[in-house]
Symmetry: C2
C-alpha cells in the first residue's frame, strides 16, 4: 500500500465540513443542503474515499453479510471437507439455491459467506462466526434430516432460516415444498399414461423430503388400487440412482413406470433402462423430481416435478433479512407448490 486509505476525516477536511456531515451524505442523506451535498460528493470523488466497513460495523452492529451454510449430517468421515464441497455442488440443485440467494442478496448489498458444516467442529465454527458478529444471520441448507445445526442456532438465538422443514421441530423460519403434492402429480401422470406396474426410487429415507415424496406417491397409488409399491432407496446421487434402478428391475422386471425422487437419480435410471434394452418412455416411463438442468440434458429429456428452487431460495433470504431487521419475529413457514413439467421420458 502506498499510503493509508482516506478516511471520513480526510474527506471532511477536503470539503471544509465536519465528519458528521460527510457521514450523512455517505449514508441516508437527510437534512443536508444540496450545495454542501455536492461539495462533499466531489471531495469523496477526489480523495477516492471508501468507508471502512469494520468501523461502521463496530457501531451499527451490522455486517451486511450472511452465512450461507451447507450443513451435513453427524460427523462425516474425515475423508475431506473439500470432498464434501465438491459432492454438494455435483447436484445442480445447490447451484440453483446459490443463484436464488444471490439474486436476492445482491440488489440489497448483502453478501454470502460460504460455509460447510459437516462435522461437529465445523458446526461450532459457524456458531462462533455468528457470535463474533461476522455475519448477521445464517441461511442453512441441510443435506440430512438429523442435522443438529438448526437447533444449535435456535438455542443461541441467532437469526437463521432453513431450506426445508427440520425433522424435529425447531423455532426457526423455513421454506419448503409440498413434496406430497409433487409425488401425487407424478403418480397421476404415470397412471394417466397407462402405466400399471409402478416402482419408485426414493431419496435417503432419513430426509423428510424423501419420506414425503415416497408417502405421496404411495398414497396416490393406493387410492387408485395399487396398495403395493416397490421401492429402492437411493441417495440423491447419480450412482445411487443407477444401483436403485438395477435393483428395482431385478426384483420387478415387468416394471413399466418409475418415479425417481430427483432428476439425478432419474438420469441414472434412464441409463440403466437403456442398457437393459428398455426404451424410455415406450417400455418404461420415468418421472423425475426438481426440474434441474439435468432434466433438459438427459436423454430422453425428463418429465419431472418442478421445484421452484431459485424462488424458494430467494424467499429464504428474504425471510432472513426480515428477521435480521426485526420486521419479522415469529418463525414462519413458507411452502411452495410443485408443478409437473412434461417432456419426453413419461
Amino acid at each position: 500500500m502506498s499510503r493509508r486509505a482516506p478516511t471520513l476525516e480526510d474527506v471532511a477536511r477536503e470539503a471544509g465540513v465536519s465528519r458528521a456531515t460527510v457521514s450523512r451524505v455517505v449514508n441516508g442523506i437527510r437534512n443536508v443542503d444540496p450545495q454542501i451535498q455536492e461539495l462533499v460528493r466531489r471531495a469523496i470523488e477526489r480523495t477516492g474515499y471508501a468507508p471502512n466497513r469494520a468501523a461502521r460495523s463496530l457501531v451499527t452492529r451490522r455486517t451486511e453479510t450472511v452465512a450461507l451454510v451447507v450443513s451435513g449430517a453427524g460427523d462425516t468421515s474425515d475423508a475431506g471437507q473439500n470432498a464434501f464441497a465438491a459432492r454438494v455442488f455435483a447436484d445442480p440443485f445447490f447451484g440453483r439455491v446459490v443463484g436464488g440467494i444471490v439474486g436476492f442478496l445482491r440488489p440489497r448489498s448483502l453478501h454470502p459467506v460460504l460455509m460447510f458444516a459437516e462435522s461437529a467442529e465445523a458446526r461450532e465454527e459457524v456458531l462462533t462466526y455468528l457470535r463474533q458478529g461476522r455475519a448477521d444471520g445464517a441461511l442453512v441448507v441441510s443435506t440430512h434430516a438429523d442435522d443438529p445445526l438448526p437447533a444449535l442456532l435456535a438455542d443461541a438465538r441467532l437469526p437463521a432460516v432453513l431450506f426445508a422443514r427440520p425433522s424435529r421441530p425447531v423455532p426457526l423460519s423455513y421454506v419448503d415444498l409440498a413434496h406430497r403434492d409433487g409425488a401425487h402429480l407424478a403418480a397421476e401422470h404415470l397412471l394417466a399414461r397407462g402405466c400399471r406396474r409402478l416402482g419408485t426410487i426414493s431419496g435417503p429415507l432419513d430426509v423428510a423430503a424423501s419420506q414425503e415424496r415416497l408417502a405421496g406417491f404411495r398414497d396416490t397409488l393406493a387410492r387408485h388400487g395399487h396398495p403395493y409399491v416397490p421401492v429402492a432407496e437411493g441417495g440423491f446421487t447419480l450412482d445411487s440412482g443407477i444401483t436403485a434402478m438395477a435393483d428395482l428391475l431385478d426384483r420387478h422386471p415387468e416394471t413399466d413406470g418409475v418415479f425417481a425422487a430427483n432428476d439425478l437419480m432419474a438420469q441414472g435410471a434412464c441409463q440403466v433402462l437403456r442398457e437393459r434394452g428398455r426404451r424410455v418412455p415406450e417400455d418404461v416411463a420415468v418421472v423425475g423430481f426438481d426440474d434441474s438442468s439435468i432434466a433438459v440434458t438427459c436423454r430422453p429429456p425428463l418429465t419431472t416435478v418442478r421445484q421452484p428452487v431459485e424462488e424458494m431460495a430467494a424467499r429464504m433470504a428474504r425471510l432472513l433479512d426480515e428477521h435480521i431487521d426485526g420486521v419479522r419475529t415469529d418463525p414462519t413457514a413458507v411452502v411452495f407448490e410443485p408443478e409437473l413439467v412434461v417432456r419426453a421420458s413419461a
Copy 2:
C-alpha cells in the same frame, strides 16, 4: 437479543485482570503467567465471550476473509445474475474449485465470500468491497479470456490471484495447467489406439485454455503426419458439445476419434454418437478433459485428461494468503502438469 454480548472488559473484570491481559490470552499468548492464563480462560468460558471481529478488524486491518469471485465476460445480458450463478455451478469444475479453496482456507480460519462479476457494475462492486476492507484479497476464476477484472484489481493494487493465465499480461499471480501437454496426451492416446480420422471439439476460442488445448492437439497430430484437423467450437456446456459433435459428424462422417476440450462436452459427444448409431469406443473413441465427476458417471466412462483442480485451487488460495501476509510480493505463476486417465471411452 436478551442483553448485550460480553466484551473484553467484562471478561477482564470477571478474571480480575486488565483488558490487555485478556487480549493477550485470546490471541497469541506471549508472556502471560500460566496461572493467569487459566484464570482468564475460565472467565471466558463463564461469560461465553466471543471477540468482536469488527473491533479487531478496525485495528488490525485484517478481516480474515477473501472474496471468491467468479468473473464473466464483458456485460452479459441482464438475463439474470442468478442464472449466471446456476450456469456456473452446472459445471462440476467450479464445485471442485470451491472444494479446493475451502480446503485450504478452513484450517486457517479464513472465509470465502462468494461474488459474481459478470457485469461492469458487479465488477465495480467487487473493487469497492475490497477497498472498504471487507475482504483481504480476491481469488478470481474467470469464465472468459477478455475479463477486465484482473487488470482492475492490479491497477488498484489489491491482492488477487487468478485461476488461469490472463489473456493480456497482468501483474498478478496465477495458477494454471499445461494445457498443451494435456492435449498432447490425448492426441498420442488416440493415435496409439489406431484412430486415424480425428476431430476435436474445442472450448470457446476466446479462452486461452481452449486455444492452448486446440493448439496442442493440432501440433501433436501434425507431427504425426495429420496436418488437417476438423474443429467444431463449443462453449464448455453439454448443449454445445452435442451441437458440435453433430456438426463434426455431418462434415466428417468417417471420424473415428474425438478430443473434447472438457468432460461435459465429451458427454454430449457420446450422446450424439450413440444416437447416430456409433459405438464408443469401438467406432469412435472419445477423450475428454478435466476428469470431473462426469467422466466417471458418463456412459461409457470417459478417458480424459486429468486436471488437478482441487490442488490448483488450494495453491491459488495459498498464493493469495502469502501475498496478503506480505511473504510474497512478486507475481508468481504456478503451472501444473496434467495426466491421462484411461477409462472406457478411448
